[in-house]
Amino acid sequence: MTETPAITASQTVGPFLHIGLPWEDGPFVVPSTVEGAFTITGTVYDGAGQPVPDALIETWQADPDGRFDHPDDPRGAAKSTVDGFRGFGRCPTGPDGTYRIVTVKPGALPAGGGAVEAPHLDVSVFARGLLDRVVTRLYFPDEEAANAADPVLVGLPDPSRAGTLVATAVEGGYRFDIRLQGEGETVFFDV
């Protein structure tokens, strides 16, 4: 057993997160001028089906070659071949509960033991009323074969909920709604 008494506890971002967290360039994982850039849009809903206007979405992903410019990647840190690639996106929801992220599709990732993770984004949701972030994943609808072999999707205790993790193709990109609670509740992960 690991002793973890010293870890600092989480608290909600509260309703006034907009004072401290949004960045002007937050939604741009890549500059919108990059070839192949698309927009992910979606709405965050609460358990009554109402949009959540005081949430913040953050995304984190590999670059199109499946690499991270990060020292802990055992394959070595790799600066992305995509100019201006940051890997990280951040966008508060508007009055209609909607966010948008501009990015490119990440590559597949080795998952150990010969397994391969399908292209995905890790997604954090912060909001008033969320005492800790909740984490989900966004997968792509045009990666059927890769999704069918993805160890996380395949390993879901309730496979009928896998669809909540797959975005929908729309003009200009993808749509990814997040349902915090109730009917069609998005699968959230304990990270």
Partner: protein, 237 residues
């Protein structure tokens, strides 16, 4: 391929459904979260450099060409991991109410005065030892609609990245001996009293600036790596 795995802090974070904090009732997921092993996306994270921060960003007391009203305080501390290692060069973002307990935000409409010289947002990158230091104004307490005569204790919101996606943390720092703790459902959503206590900063006389500012010290502990990779075999002790 061996990857670090990060400690899962059972019993530290508040349960998402904490009905005494009413906004959780329709927002906390009802399904149990699915355990996600820590793979490449989870053990990496954004490396946000100095381009995000200027030296002025750590001083919240002088906005729009004038001095903010209230008690000047220094808020300082370190960002470390649960194995004691410092987290250098990581972005720390803070936001808070002004001295009167009012946020500069369209949705904060209670009748306490706004301060033209106080925005309430700050940023800093930690130094080599994980250290950060802000100069700000002691935030006021403020009422909110959660229950009859509800007041939030004075607090500063903190956002931390650490160096991996697993370490991302948003929390609140409180001040010592606040009489409002007992009635605050946000703080008390943390069930372990020791974990609550760790959110309370301490007065630090040695960090004060004579004839200028008081000081409060607060260290933030992020989840550390559980085991060192490559050292799983050969258990010699």
């Amino acid at each position: 391929m061996k990857l670090p795995s990060y400690v899962r802090p059972d019993g530290v974070h508040p349960p998402l459904l904490s009905p005494e904090y009413k906004s959780t009732v329709l927002r906390a997921p009802s399904q149990k979260p699915v355990l996600l092993p820590h793979r490449l996306t989870e053990i990496t994270g954004p490396v946000l450099g100095e381009d995000r921060v200027t030296a002025d960003d750590a001083d919240l007391t002088r906005d729009s060409g004038g001095e903010a009203v209230g008690q000047r305080i220094i808020v300082l501390g370190r960002v470390i991991e649960s194995d004691g290692r410092p987290v250098p060069e990581t972005l720390v973002e803070i936001w808070q109410a002004n001295a009167g307990g009012r946020y500069r935000h369209a949705r904060d409409t209670w009748p306490a005065p706004l301060d033209p010289h106080f925005t309430g947002a700050g940023r800093a990158l930690t130094d080599r030892d994980g250290g950060f230091r802000f100069l700000t104004i002691m935030p006021g307490a403020y009422p909110w609609g959660n229950h009859h005569n509800a007041w939030r204790p004075a607090h500063i919101h903190f956002s931390l990245f650490g160096r991996a996606f697993t370490q991302r943390l948003v929390t609140q720092m409180y001040f010592p001996d606040d009489s409002l703790f007992a009635q605050d459902p946000v703080m008390n959503s943390i069930r372990d009293p020791r974990a609550r206590k760790r959110l309370v900063s301490r007065f630090d006389l040695s960090a004060t600036e004579p004839e200028w500012a008081l000081a409060y010290r607060w260290d933030i502990v992020l989840r550390g790596a559980e085991t060192t990779p490559f050292e799983e075999e050969g258990d010699d002790d």
